[in-house]
């Protein structure tokens, strides 16, 4: 399977922006240095060969115990070329911030808010980085592996006699 996108990245970024790449069954992925997250994304969107003009998904993975702890994962798709790529960026626990891509793909807005809400990843330059699923009063980021599974934070006082 031709590695069209990975070859393009290897041609364009030679200064260590791309940390690791892989391709299995035609699924190409690249691990990007977080500082170059936005530059790589913009290149892939605007490049005529890659032409990855469609934002598919953005989420986060908490690999507790690993360094760096978090992986931000993004999927891109080319409507014209019909190929796709997965980009990853590892973020350390003490500085889990990365450039926002809302300026490139407006559709990334709510996905970045979700990753912020549930994992506490900060997206620099996001126009409206608020919680999107949990309520504003909620403390913590519940999909982090060290968040207690039943860490409920009720908004209302429970009725007397109710069993949690």
């Amino acid at each position: 399977m031709a590695k069209i996108i990975l070859d393009r990245l290897a041609q364009q970024f030679v200064a260590g922006e791309i940390l690791e790449t892989g391709s299995q069954h035609g699924n190409e992925w690249a691990r990007v240095a977080p500082a170059h997250w936005r530059a790589v994304a913009q290149f892939l969107r605007d490049d005529a060969v890659a032409a990855l003009n469609m934002f598919i998904d953005l989420t986060c993975v908490d690999r507790l115990g690993r360094t760096p702890r978090f992986d931000v994962v993004m999927h891109l798709y080319s409507v014209d070329k019909k190929h796709r790529v997965r980009l990853l960026a590892g973020l350390p626990e003490d500085d889990s911030s990365i450039d926002s891509l809302v300026a490139l793909w407006p559709g990334a807005n709510w996905f970045e808010r979700e990753a912020f809400d549930l994992y506490g990843v900060h997206f620099v330059g996001h126009p409206d980085l608020r919680r999107i699923l949990m309520y504003p009063e909620f403390v913590g980021h519940p999909l982090r592996k060290d968040f207690p599974k039943e860490g409920r934070q009720p908004l209302l006082r429970r009725l007397p006699g109710s069993v949690d």
Partner: protein, 180 residues
């Protein structure tokens, strides 16, 4: 004829009218709603029990049916809807999620709607069959007739309404509960 006997008979008549004229407010949040809708349809036909008319305003409803998972975030919404309903009012929790939280044992799902509002009848099932809804409705009608609904009990305590079970129970029996 003593006045208390007269008023208790009146309460029985009023409760009889209430139980066959329930106006529902369906608070549907999840997949249970698909099964719940069938109770309105001709095959199960909840109209046979006088509860066929859903009112999509809580102010016009006296039966709140909580259908589906309630999250902590929805708690204040559910409580406000319940508070907006005129008394007396009743609540049915449809399905295990509304009753206990079901298989959701996590940071976001509320372990049962009864954490924030009083529930009169619980229906287990994931989702329950429409027959169970009809069964629960009949159970609720029995409670209404006996004046045992949560809000009926509260009304009696707060405003001194005469209980219908004055005539049902022997004199001097002040135990709480149904007395069945």
């Amino acid at each position: 004829m003593p006045f208390s006997v007269y008023t208790s008979k009146l309460a029985q008549a009023v409760n009889w009218a209430r139980k066959f004229s329930l106006f529902e407010y369906p608070f549907v949040t999840a997949c249970c709603g698909m099964e719940f809708m069938a109770t309105w349809a001709p095959k199960y036909d909840i109209a046979r029990f006088g509860a066929e008319l859903p009112r999509f305003s809580p102010r016009q409803a006296d039966l709140l049916i909580v259908v589906g998972t309630i999250t902590e975030r929805q708690g204040p919404v559910l409580r406000r809807i319940y508070d907006q309903m005129c008394e007396p009012k009743w609540v049915i929790a449809y399905g295990v999620c509304a009753s206990t939280g079901g298989f959701y044992q996590n940071y976001s799902a509320m372990p049962g709607a009864d954490q924030v509002i009083p529930v009169d009848v619980y229906i287990p099932g994931c989702p329950p069959r429409p027959e169970q809804m009809l069964d629960a409705l009949v159970m609720l009608q029995e409670r209404i007739q006996k004046g045992e609904g949560h809000s009926q009990v509260v009304l009696r305590a707060e405003r001194g309404y005469v209980a219908p079970d004055v005539a049902i129970r022997p004199a001097g029996d002040t135990r709480e509960g149904s007395g069945r």
